[in-house]
C-alpha cells in the first residue's frame, strides 16, 4: 500500500515538474512575444528548473503577475508535498530494509528447511525399506506358520491313528490275556492230573515194594510174586519216566504260560502308558496348534500394521516431496523477493538522490536519503 502511495506521489511530482516546465516554456514564449518579459518570473523559473522550490516569482506587470502568483502557489504546494513526502519515504526505506532482512531470513530458513527435508526424506526412505522388509518377513513368517500348522495337523492325525492302533492292540492284548489265563487254568488242571499220576506211581511203587517183600517172605513159594513185582517195577519205571517227562513239560508250559501272561500284562501296561502318552501328545499338539493360530493372527496383524505403516510412510514421502517443492518455490520466491527488494531499494535510492536535489528550504535539500 505504501509503495503504491509512494509511486503515486512520485508520478504527481513528475507531472508537476512537467507542468512547471510547460508553464516556464509558455512564459518565455509570452515574454518573447511581448518583447519585454518580467525578470522576476524568469529568475524564479530558472531556480525552479534547478530544483530550488524555495524560489518566489514576483512581477509587477499585469500580464505576468497572475502567472507569478500561480507559480508561487504551485511552488508552495510542491514544497508541502515534498515535505510531507519525507516521512513516508523514510518509512518506506526502513520497511524495505526490514523486508529485505526478513526475506533473507526466510531464504536462509527455507534453505535450512530444505536440508532438513532432505534428511527427513532419506529417513523416510529408510523407514519405507524397513517397512517393506518387515512386510516380507511377516509374509515369510506367515508361510512358515502355515507349514508349521500343517505339520501339527499331520502330527495330530498320526497321534489319532496311533491312539486308535494302541486301543486295538490293548483290546487284542486283553483278549490274548484272557486266553492266556484260560490256558494257565488248563495247564494247572493238567499239572494236577500229572501230580495225581505221580501219586499213583508212588502208590504203585509201594505195591511193588510190598509185593517183593511178601515174595521174599514166602520163600520158594513166592517166586511168582517176584515176577509180578518185577513186571510192576518195569511198568512203574516206564510210567515214572513218562510221568516225569509230562510233569517237566507241564511245568515248562506253566512257566512259559506265566511268563507269557506276565509279558502280556506288561505289554498291556505299556500300551496303556503309550495311550496316555499319545493323549498327552495330542493335547500338546492341540495347544501348539492354538498357539500357532494365535501367532498367525499376530503375524497377520503385524503384517497389516506394517503395510499400513509402509503406506503411511509412502504418503508422507509423497507429501514430503510436495513440501520440498513448495519449499523450493518459497526459496525461489524469497530470492525473487530479495532481488525485487534490492531493485526497489536501488530505485528508492535513485529516487532519493533525485529528490535530494529538490530544495524546500534555505537550509538544505528536501530529502536526505
Amino acid at each position: 500500500m505504501s509503495q503504491t502511495v509512494l509511486l503515486v506521489v512520485v508520478i504527481v511530482l513528475l507531472i508537476a515538474q512537467g507542468l512547471t516546465g510547460f508553464l516556464l516554456w509558455q512564459a518565455r514564449r509570452g515574454a518573447g512575444a511581448a518583447g519585454g518579459a518580467d525578470e522576476g518570473v524568469l529568475v524564479a523559473l530558472r531556480r525552479l528548473a534547478d530544483g530550488d522550490l524555495t524560489a518566489r516569482a514576483e512581477s509587477a506587470a499585469p500580464a505576468t503577475a497572475a502567472i507569478a502568483e500561480q507559480l508561487n502557489t504551485a511552488l508552495s504546494r510542491q514544497r508541502e508535498l515534498v515535505s510531507e513526502l519525507r516521512v513516508p519515504f523514510e518509512g518506506l526505506a526502513a520497511e524495505l530494509h526490514k523486508l529485505g532482512k526478513n526475506s533473507l531470513g526466510h531464504s536462509e530458513t527455507s534453505a535450512g528447511m530444505g536440508r532438513q527435508l532432505e534428511e527427513v526424506k532419506s529417513a523416510l526412505s529408510r523407514e519405507v525399506q524397513a517397512a517393506e522388509d518387515m512386510t516380507s518377513i511377516s509374509k515369510q513368517a506367515r508361510e512358515a506358520m502355515g507349514r508349521h500348522r500343517q505339520l501339527v495337523s499331520r502330527g495330530q492325525t498320526l497321534a489319532t491313528d496311533m491312539a486308535r492302533a494302541s486301543s486295538d492292540v490293548r483290546e487284542s492284548m486283553q483278549e490274548t490275556s484272557k486266553s492266556a489265563k484260560r490256558q494257565g487254568e488248563l495247564i494247572q488242571s493238567v499239572t494236577t492230573a500229572a501230580e495225581y499220576i505221580q501219586s499213583l506211581n508212588t502208590r504203585i511203587s509201594v505195591v511193588a515194594i510190598n509185593t517183593r517183600i511178601e515174595a521174599e517172605r514166602a520163600g520158594e513159594h513166592g517166586r511168582p510174586f517176584l515176577g509180578i513185582a518185577e513186571a510192576i517195577g518195569d511198568l512203574l519205571r516206564e510210567a515214572e519216566e513218562e510221568g516225569r517227562k509230562i510233569t517237566s513239560e507241564v511245568r515248562m508250559l506253566q512257566n512259559l504260560s506265566a511268563e507269557n501272561l506276565n509279558s502280556l500284562e506288561h505289554t498291556v501296561g505299556a500300551v496303556v502308558t503309550i495311550l496316555e502318552f499319545v493323549e498327552r501328545i495330542d493335547a500338546s499338539l492341540e495347544d501348539i496348534n492354538h498357539g500357532a493360530a494365535y501367532l498367525l493372527d499376530q503375524v497377520d496383524s503385524l503384517g497389516n500394521t506394517t503395510q499400513q505403516s509402509a503406506d503411511t510412510v509412502r504418503r508422507l514421502h509423497g507429501l514430503l516431496g510436495e513440501v520440498r517443492e513448495q519449499n523450493r518455490a518459497l526459496r525461489e520466491g524469497a530470492e525473487a523477493t530479495q532481488q525485487g527488494i534490492a531493485t526497489l531499494q536501488q530505485t528508492l535510492s535513485t529516487l532519493g538522490r533525485n529528490l535530494a536535489r529538490l530544495r524546500v528550504d534555505s537550509a538544505g535539500s528536501a530529502l536526505n536519503v
Partner: protein, 186 residues
C-alpha cells in the same frame, strides 16, 4: 568107505564154517536188590528183608509226654503201631510243610514201628560194584547206614534196621525228665 568118511568130514567142516558162533554168555554181574526210599529228603535204600511193609500213613493218635519225633500210634493189621517222624528223628527238623504220605514199617524182634518217608521210589537193583563204604551222610543217618551205593553224583545210603536198633535212638521216647516231678506222698 573112506569116501563116506571124507564126505562126512567135509560136510562137518562146511557146517562148522557156516554156523554162526554162539554168543558168549555174559557173566552175570552180582547185584543187590532192595527198596529205594527217602527219609527227610535223603535218598536211601533198604533191604527187603529189613522191611515189614510200606503203608500209607494211617490216622494217628497223639501220645502225650513223648518226644516230638513220635507222631503217635496207629491201628495197623490189628495191632498198635507207633509212628515216628523221619524228618524230626533223623534230620532233627520238623516236617517241611507237606504232610508225609507213607511210612516204612520195621518189624524187628521186640520192636515194631513205622517211620515216615519223604518219598518212595520203588524196588531197585544195584550192582555190587557200586557198593561203597564211604559215608557222606551225617548224624543218626550215618550211624544207621551200613555204607551205601554211589550212583554217579548221588549217594544212596543203605539203611540197616539192626544198626538203627543198636544206635539206641529209639530207646527212650519219653519227653519227661527221668526224675518224677511230684514229690512222693509222705
Amino acid at each position: 568107505m573112506d569116501g563116506a568118511f571124507t564126505a562126512l568130514q567135509a560136510l562137518h567142516q562146511r557146517y562148522a564154517q557156516r554156523t554162526p558162533v554162539l554168543p558168549p554168555v555174559a557173566a552175570e554181574e552180582p547185584t543187590w536188590s532192595g527198596a529205594a526210599i527217602g527219609i527227610a529228603g535223603v535218598p536211601l535204600v533198604i533191604a527187603h528183608g529189613d522191611v515189614d511193609t510200606v503203608i500209607a500213613l494211617p490216622p494217628l493218635t497223639r501220645i502225650p509226654g513223648t518226644c516230638n519225633w513220635v507222631l503217635g500210634v496207629a491201628a495197623h493189621q490189628g495191632e498198635l503201631l507207633p509212628v515216628f517222624c523221619g524228618d524230626t528223628l533223623f534230620a532233627e527238623r520238623l516236617s517241611p510243610g507237606r504232610r508225609r504220605e507213607y511210612c516204612l514199617v520195621f518189624r524187628q524182634p521186640g520192636l515194631h514201628f513205622g517211620v515216615t518217608l519223604s518219598h518212595v521210589r520203588g524196588n531197585i537193583t544195584l550192582p555190587l560194584a557200586e557198593r561203597s563204604s564211604a559215608m557222606p551222610l551225617e548224624g543218626l543217618l550215618a550211624e544207621c547206614c551200613d555204607g551205601g551205593f554211589q550212583r554217579g553224583e548221588e549217594f544212596l545210603g543203605l539203611l540197616d534196621g539192626a544198626r538203627l536198633l543198636a544206635s539206641g535212638a529209639l530207646a527212650d521216647t519219653s519227653a519227661l525228665p527221668a526224675d518224677p516231678v511230684e514229690e512222693a506222698v509222705p
